[in-house]
Point group: C2
Chain length 474, copies 2
Amino acid sequence: MEDSFVVVGGDAAGLSAASKCKREDPERDVVVYERGRWISYAHCGTPYYVKGEVEDLTDLLSLSPEEVEERGIDLRRGREVVDVDSDAKEVEVEDTEGDVTTKSYDDLLIASGARAIESPVAGVELAGAYTLHGLDDAAAIRSHLTPPEEHSVDGFTDEVDVERVRRAGEMEPPTSVAVVGGGYVGVEMAEAFSAWPVDIHLYQRPSQLLPEFGEAVGSQVESHLLERGVELHLDTEVEAIRGDGHVEAVETADSVVTEVEMALVGVGVRANVEPVEDEVELGESGAIEVDRYGRTSAEDVYAAGDCAVSHHTVTDDTAWVPLGLTANRAGRAVGATVAGTETEVGEIAATAMVKAFDLECARTGLVTEEEARRHGYKAESVTVDAGSRSGYYPGAEKTTVTLTADVDTGRLLGGAIVGRDRAAVRIDTVATAVEAELTVRETMNLDLGYAPPFSPVWSPVLVAAKVLDGELNS
Amino acid sequence: MEDSFVVVGGDAAGLSAASKCKREDPERDVVVYERGRWISYAHCGTPYYVKGEVEDLTDLLSLSPEEVEERGIDLRRGREVVDVDSDAKEVEVEDTEGDVTTKSYDDLLIASGARAIESPVAGVELAGAYTLHGLDDAAAIRSHLTPPEEHSVDGFTDEVDVERVRRAGEMEPPTSVAVVGGGYVGVEMAEAFSAWPVDIHLYQRPSQLLPEFGEAVGSQVESHLLERGVELHLDTEVEAIRGDGHVEAVETADSVVTEVEMALVGVGVRANVEPVEDEVELGESGAIEVDRYGRTSAEDVYAAGDCAVSHHTVTDDTAWVPLGLTANRAGRAVGATVAGTETEVGEIAATAMVKAFDLECARTGLVTEEEARRHGYKAESVTVDAGSRSGYYPGAEKTTVTLTADVDTGRLLGGAIVGRDRAAVRIDTVATAVEAELTVRETMNLDLGYAPPFSPVWSPVLVAAKVLDGELNS
């Protein structure tokens, strides 16, 4: 019998691993267990489906089950791996009827992803209260926003919870919505709701939006959301969603009650590790610890994607930053390793981008002095405004760049960018400089592109590096 | 008496050097001689002035003479340095009346820029035939394109050749124009002319437009220019511009005659080195050889900007690539060095961007296998099409990336990008990877940003690196 590669989870990491392994070693028996109905969907696209910019839910599917099977992968949907025995090298699999079978493996990949954390807010079970973690949630939210007379379940296949979609579609659309959480899901969903005729309240416990992006991004996003009519409640903890069966209000820890008819709770995710939590070592974040090849503490058991940690290029420590590229890349590397070519999963810089209405925001590495100090650096940071194009060329927009460096070595540690014109993709330059361990001086001397319509002589990244270099040498 | 820093040329390199030196060492006597009337203008912006996207010529001035003088710099316009004696450490300066004086220096910077090469095409002296090298040319071309009844010399100050502007404005606008040369000036000017009611013929001696950008960029620009109605004559040498006092036709080496009423010859530039050509060593390109600090072969004589070579980050050899950022940076470094802080001018990667109507084009390093082989590398190159955004997100556009690597070491040597959506700025990521000497594998593993509206999970640069990594390891 052929060696068996068993994959737990049919999303980015799991399917990347299965596909790579099967391509490199076509004789291999590759089985993917997915407990849900959907596989390989673009989680990051769900706000744009709610907004209506993405028309059909199926547009968010990157691979169909048929395409996966054409690759020679044995895909089993509706099958949940409920237990792993790494000594016996087998998994217990439960189907939707509750029947349990056993499958042995030679190599096992845990790619079970993450899920919304249990809400610290009471009332999330009320009708009209949502999290956004999966296509069912997205379908229900948009259906609820749609007036019943315009709603139809046509076009929803039985891969989605059609009954839930029908119920949501029968509800009266809300005239106001509370978004609980001002991280990137909260900010993206505020934009999504703005396409519908609803008043939007956004609650954020810290005093800043998008805290991981640093203060410059946070404050510009704050101003911009206010401009766009979002009512912001910063430094405000939501204690409960109130209502009698249906959302009627949110109540803050200060007992301020605001009437709303819908609530979206976007307060973070945690790793899905239940079936292996006693078998493998977990990190502080609750995610699975892995080495540079994605190997867990248990023999022949790998982990990749949102359920696993990564190695951070700056801190040289593990970090849990569940993001799409990391999942794809780690899965692909594990697939190659299992197929016989040892492949490192690569480091992360925790690079992220987010759109906040017209603002493009991005971050990479250690963004702020405070973040850098937490990791033991004596850090210096600058934030500068520069132009996105030559000043005389139409469409030039302010681009704000934060760069942070290690004072002792001059090494660039990270940065953030916000602006309206080609701002976000410039973070890739900073991420590359950070991963390549360039100093600020070396970054300042990079020969970056210049053309009046696209970038001024000194691109915003170079302007910031020049100023930071001056600070470091003063 | 204070040490004297004499600068020849009042454009990007010269003024950057003068400003930096004066800021670091305010006691220094800093004198800038500029033979023309204009200082510090945005040469790269002139096509957009001709197009009309930049309204006033003065919008292209980055610094006024007053601002320069406020910095404590002694700026002398209309003064040409006609001879340098590096033994006596003095320069001969001729004013517009032809009077010659002598000025001694302690440090001398040659920042005399470049000028259009002597045209290989006969007939460039005809009325209606232009090069584009300076604001006078730009003003004359746009004035000629403007119908006499709409033309006015109001708003042109006496810093421009107002008499030439007046004569150009009195001419009947052409109904057809020949652009001679398909490098970036030719391509940008084709776009500029398209804003006017003229038929555009573009002549290019090689069979490809934008040869330094590689074949993928060249062929897409070719298709796009054809779509936009530009008549292309590739692989075609123009022998002469014909006419009786005024442009009437162009004649090719194959004796094909095409009637046109205006001609723009954009066939390249050469370094201005006359006053020092017997004093300092010149390279093969005719530009001044310098070391990593901008020092020429003559003691205390520096050169920076379009008249000097740079050090290429990949070939480790000198190269003459006259571009704006290089000039600014080299000038600034020389200013710091002269003021007492030895500062390297930095390497170049020959990074360049150009807009061709709706296409964004960019290049860096050694773009093609052929270019890399010329520099002694065993090279491998791939060209891939990828998406600019997640496929489901509106506005996603094809982005074509060429990457080239050294087969022996896996080092990334360079690349090119073309597309309509945020394509050009992505070259900065490639340039950074090239300058940081990353391998293709390291480039493939960069943690670049992902957000559906800005970049797909695997950004176009990563997709290309992944494919090239596969080629290198197959």
